[in-house]
């Protein structure tokens, strides 16, 4: 599908915004650098906000599932400031590196883990007119970069000089490798349906039908089991229960994170929540319509296809969908027990991968039949 936007040299919406604003005497590369700086700032702020809100949401969701209140005190209304208090406390903690630990790797691991999520966020589109990088292979890039978090986790487990951490790291490596395959293959189903790797174009391909009935799951019903497989693989990728073996609380004390404290530990958690958000965004864009909702359909019907209002509605839609996905992940975490490592492997290789391949076959058949019927 062709977009109506003129091609840009860099594909960054912020640069597009800044270029006309820059005065004449500012060289082009400086405008570019400023745009990059602003983008990075926005991404950082976004990840921080996502992590903060997710921590609060997790604590409240887990509390109410467990018939209790959760944070109520800090900040007044349902303890919304608990994350700020936590952050402040963590920053003030002693920065320890355990004796015998590999200092360089120990310090580098959380940074690497967070950096990969930063990189993946570059493909996240807020709205059709507001994005950080216009990529034709958006989803490909996301999958590739999120798999580099494993390096950081294994580094953390190894560098901690603790047997429990080593266990966590080994499990994480095995788990991620096993579930990358069904993650990618199950995504092929909506990719076939929508016909594009780019997140922006995929979202546009689901426009119409009152904002709901052209979603990928309705365009191709094979997308529904594909979504289930994708969701399970996403849970395993982000180390969320029932696949939270790498940080299994009751078995390994804290898995690969055992020796981390203070702000380094919070980096791992920021990465976890940001990865959850990212996976939810991918699911929202490829299965559940992305920007499309009844609101956008109404706006489109009235001819509003660009501009600030449309952009805001799109942004709100996708963020809400993503946070619903995050909420679903949390709900699953507090319901299901943990799967044992060899069962994780069995599920990944013997159940999810063959089923995903089968679904790709069925999706291909459906697409051929649907196209043939249309013609």
């Amino acid at each position: 599908m062709q977009s109506t936007e003129p091609t840009q040299s860099s594909g960054n919406a912020i640069l597009t915004l800044l270029e006309p604003l820059a005065p004449e005497w500012v060289p082009g590369w400086l405008v570019g650098l400023t745009a990059i700086g602003v983008s990075v700032g926005i991404v950082t702020g976004m990840i921080a906000l996502i992590a903060m809100f997710s921590v609060w949401l997790e604590r409240k969701v887990s509390a109410h599932i467990q018939c209790r209140y959760g944070p109520m005190y800090p900040g007044g209304w349902h303890g919304w400031a608990v994350v700020l208090a936590d952050g402040l406390k963590l920053i003030m903690k002693e920065d320890m590196v355990p004796k015998g630990a590999d200092r360089v790797l120990f310090v580098l691991a959380p940074a690497l883990v967070l950096a990969s999520i930063f990189g993946a966020m570059a493909a996240f589109p807020f709205a059709p007119g507001f994005y950080f990088a216009r990529m034709d292979l958006g989803i490909f890039m996301i999958l590739a970069i999120t798999s580099t978090t494993t390096i950081g986790v294994v580094m953390a487990g190894w560098a901690s000089n603790s047997k429990w951490s080593l266990f966590g790291a080994m499990r994480e490596a095995a788990q991620v490798v096993a579930y990358e395959i069904p993650l990618g293959i199950s995504l092929m189903v909506p990719l076939m349906t929508l016909g594009t790797f780019s997140l922006l174009e995929a979202s546009e391909a689901q426009a119409g039908g009152f904002g709901i009935f052209r979603w990928a799951i309705f365009q191709n019903p094979v997308c529904i089991p594909a979504f289930i497989i994708f969701w399970i693989a996403a849970l395993a990728e982000t180390k969320r229960a029932p696949f939270d073996l790498p940080e299994a609380e009751s078995e390994l004390v804290a898995g690969f994170m055992t020796e981390y404290s203070g702000i380094r530990w919070s980096f791992f958690f920021m990465e976890e929540y940001a990865a959850m958000f990212l996976m939810s965004v991918v699911a929202a864009v490829f299965f559940f319509g992305g920007f499309e909702s009844p609101a956008t359909w109404i706006l489109r019907a009235n001819g509003v296809e660009g501009g600030i209002v449309f952009g805001l509605v799109c942004a709100v839609t996708i963020v809400l969908k993503a946070f619903f996905g995050v909420f679903l992940m949390m709900w699953l975490r507090w319901t299901l027990p943990r799967v044992r490592i060899d069962q994780v492997m069995t599920m990944g290789y013997k159940y999810l991968t063959p089923l995903a391949l089968l679904l790709v076959l069925l999706a291909g058949v459906w697409q051929t039949v649907a196209v043939a019927i249309e013609n």
Partner: protein
């Protein structure tokens, strides 16, 4: 061909040992040694149910050996029994299996009463004792269920179990004033009568509990992941159960039909069983093998329902009357020695008392069921994965207060 014949020279040293496999191929024994990791599932660990140290030797994730170290919670309970008077020892009995304190008090009181021949326990006292002991069995099994869920990774059933346990503890608080270490069942009867309205509240609890039990069952016990993690894990065959002198739900999960309440009845249990108020649940290998972890937790869940039957029977047949027998102010227990074993939620809790007619016991020996049940770990844990070992330890349902005393 041998290595010399091939003329290969290199840095990999192939061992000269080799053998011929049944298929005809030659298998070389490589000289690659990986050493086992020795892990300390130490005194401080979220999954060892107290302060117990498990020295685990693993080959990667596979456990090859285990050695439990005990004694971190030893408080010289038996020695104290030789130094305080008969009634003063009662609060110490609470504190061995602190999750089932009523049963501990009961065991001790029954043992002393056996020595004091001719002592009559009033009927109301017997019924109140039974109600309290069975409610405490439910509370104890609720903790077993909740913490087992925690070990396996399900964080929510723990909170639901504690919601019901709070109700039971509130009931106990109303009748004796304490929530964990009751010292309520004393020599000769019980300390004080139930306050007005207490029996009705127990009945209301019984009615509400069955629906909640079904929720726990659906949420955790029938959950596919839970079944996969506990079925066929830590199988204790019936012969091994008998050899290791296991008692309680561990024995019944292996299929052996033995329960002290029915086979060696004490208090009114014989009569209650004859009246059909409760059955003895057995493990049958429904989800895997007989005697696996799933069977053990299943037996515990079923026992909770059977306890409700016993409580209801007692509520139906309790009469008004005194709650304590004729005990002198200064208690001197007649000469003699006796052993009385009762069915604790964890197994057979035995008290061996030796009296010389004085105010203080000569010997007060306690057979803690968790201590005896724990011995089976060294035989069933090697060969399992690390995650399984947590499941096995949790299914034995130990309380370190009872293991160490």
């Amino acid at each position: 061909m041998t290595i010399e014949e091939t003329g290969q020279k290199g840095s990999i040293q192939l061992g000269t040992e080799s053998r011929i496999l049944p298929s005809g191929e030659r298998e070389f024994m490589l000289d690659v040694a990986t050493s086992d990791i020795e892990l300390n599932m130490g005194p401080q660990h979220p999954a060892t149910h107290g302060v117990m140290r498990l020295l685990i030797r693993t080959d990667g994730e596979l456990v090859t050996g285990v050695q439990p170290h005990l004694g971190f919670l030893h408080r010289c309970a038996e020695k104290i029994g030789e130094n305080v008077e008969w009634l003063q020892y009662l609060p110490y009995t609470d504190r061995y299996d602190y999750l089932a304190a009523m049963n501990n008090n009961l065991g001790y009181s029954l043992a002393v009463e056996k020595l004091m021949t001719g002592l009559e326990i009033p009927q109301r006292a017997t019924h109140l004792r039974t109600i309290c002991a069975e409610l405490n069995r439910i509370a104890s099994h609720l903790i077993a269920f909740g913490t087992y869920g925690l070990d396996i990774g399900a964080f929510t059933p723990f909170f639901y179990a504690f919601r019901e346990r709070e109700w039971i503890q509130a009931l106990f608080e109303k009748i004796c004033g304490a929530r964990l270490t009751y010292s309520y069942i004393r020599i000769g009867g019980v300390f004080n009568d139930s306050p007005p309205g207490w029996l009705q509240e127990v009945e209301r609890f019984c009615d509400v509990f069955e629906a909640k039990w079904q929720e726990y069952y659906d949420l955790l016990i029938l959950n596919h992941i839970f079944v996969k993690r506990t079925a066929n894990v830590g199988v204790i065959p019936p012969a091994m159960a008998r050899d290791f002198a296991l008692t309680g739900p561990m024995l019944r999960a292996s299929g052996i039909d033995f329960d002290l309440r029915r086979d060696m009845p004490y208090m009114d249990y014989g009569e209650i069983y004859e009246a059909g108020a409760f059955q003895i649940p057995l493990g049958s290998g429904e989800k895997g093998t007989v005697g696996d972890c799933w069977d053990r937790i299943y037996v515990r869940m079923k026992e909770m329902i059977e306890s409700l039957g016993i409580v209801r029977w007692c509520l139906g047949s309790i009469e008004d009357g005194p709650v304590i027998g004729d005990i002198p102010k200064v208690l001197r227990v007649p000469n003699g020695e006796c052993y009385v074993g009762i069915e604790n939620p964890r197994g057979e809790l035995g008290h061996y008392l030796h009296s010389d007619g004085g105010k203080i016991a000569i010997r007060c020996r306690v057979r803690g069921p968790s201590f005896v049940n724990l011995a089976v770990l060294e035989d069933i844990m090697p060969g399992t994965l690390l995650g399984d070992s947590i499941a096995i330890v949790g299914s034995i349902d130990i309380v370190i207060g009872e293991t160490d005393r």
